[in-house]
Amino acid sequence: MHVHLDGTTPIYIQIAEWLQHEIIADRLQADEKVYSQYQLAELFNINPATAGKGLTILLEEQLLYKKRGLGMFVATDAKERILMKRRNEILTKMAQEIVLEAKRLLVSDEELLVLIRKTQEGLA
């Protein structure tokens, strides 16, 4: 398995991230059945309860849906929503870094906003 389980990030979060990655890469497609917690346990050599927790995260974000007695399936708009979420997260983080760096360099709020507007115009 090409995922390396590292020691500090909780395993169930790594499983949730791996599943999202599989959805983005189209290896798990819309309305396709996903792995059961037992298959994930076997695949990653982890406790099935931990694998179940990873699936629950996606279920709670409605990236997966349940069919009674059949298991869990990929939500129709799952890929789109994961991409959207990632974009927002990355942008928020970059914005934070810009604001922090501006503070360190003693750039005022007005100067920073002007800089951003100028950058936008330059790229338009």
């Binding site: 389980l5 020691g7 500090t8 990030t9 909780p10 395993i11 169930y12 037992y38 346990a41 076997e42 990653f44 050599n45 982890i46 406790n47 099935p48 309860a49 931990t50 927790k53 934070q96 922090l100």
Partner: protein
């Protein structure tokens, strides 16, 4: 559903208190790691669960009955440790045959396949085996008996690293095929951590934590950053360990007592990182301020 319930369990050997008022419950069909330093009381607790020794005070119920000298416990429980011994006159094959007669869920064919994989000769006698082979045979015996309560006390002691990794996987696969309760002790938490559902941490004869693995790990976090930025934060919380070097401090604290968001901390140059399970065990069980360096001063 609980398969073990103990209340206010204490055990003394002469003046030594091996267990002190332990109250805990073990659910059915979970893999649970029993962790603790040497002398923490792990083996004593497991021996009481197995019905091998009697508690001094308090009560212990296994499958709803007192386990001591109890045939129901004996038939549904297996206890594997390095003291497990069999008659000198029997070959390994004969020992397996006896197991098959006693345990109703016994998997003889699986035993043959696992021992063949490990390169252990079935015509050998138990005490002719090397230390690592002995541990492997005993663990195979424990796995194929498929007992509702399977207790493995340091099952990988003496095995080489390759076979240890293989047999942790074997435990997981056996559990998936036939769910049952596993209680496993080990001094190498890191190598078995991924297959565990819960951790039960013991220290000085008491159970000091019993939780799902992730919850257990998340109870402590590590903060590091400029000492002056951290000073206020640390004065308001319990600090498990602290290192100061060239104006930078790193400290281990209780995660539930941190009320400041990660963004605010980051703005002050403080980074937050999580710990792995064995680090959490180390900080929860080491005496405050104890340090190997101190004895050389």
């Amino acid at each position: 559903m609980n398969i073990i319930q103990c209340e206010e369990l204490s055990k003394s050997f002469g003046r030594r208190h091996a267990l002190q008022r332990v109250t805990c419950a073990i659910d059915a069909e979970k893999i649970i790691g029993i962790i603790g330093r040497n002398g923490a009381g792990k083996s004593t607790l497991l021996n009481i669960f197995a019905g091998y020794i009697k508690p001094t005070t308090g009560s212990c119920k296994v499958f709803n009955e007192n386990p001591f000298n109890n045939i129901q416990t004996a038939a549904n429980m297996i206890f594997i440790d390095d003291r497990l011994s069999f008659s000198d006159y029997l070959s390994l094959e004969d020992i397996l045959k006896m197991g098959a007669d006693f345990y109703p869920n016994w998997q003889n064919e699986l035993a043959y396949r696992m021992l063949d994989y490990a390169g252990i000769d079935l015509t050998a006698k138990h005490q002719q085996l090397s230390k690592g082979q002995l541990a492997t045979f005993n663990l195979v015996y424990g796995l194929v008996s498929r007992c509702a309560l399977t207790i493995l006390d340091e099952p990988m002691n003496g095995m080489d690293e390759v076979i240890r990794t293989d047999f942790y996987r074997a435990i997981l696969k056996e559990y998936l095929a036939f769910p049952r309760t596993f209680l496993i002790t080990s001094h190498h938490l890191q190598e078995m951590e991924s297959i565990l559902e819960e951790i039960l941490l013991m220290d000085e004869g008491s159970v000091i934590a019993h939780a799902p693995l992730d919850e257990f790990k998340e109870q402590l976090i590590s903060l590091s950053g400029p000492s002056d930025a951290l000073a206020d934060l640390l004065s308001e919380t319990e600090v498990y360990a602290q290192k100061i070097m060239a104006g930078m401090t790193s400290a281990i604290i209780d995660a539930s007592k941190l009320f400041v968001s990660e963004e605010i901390l980051r703005a002050k140059g403080i980074t937050v990182s999580s710990l792995n399970a064995s680090e959490v065990c180390k900080y929860l069980t080491s005496k405050k301020g104890s340090d190997i360096d101190a004895i050389f001063d």
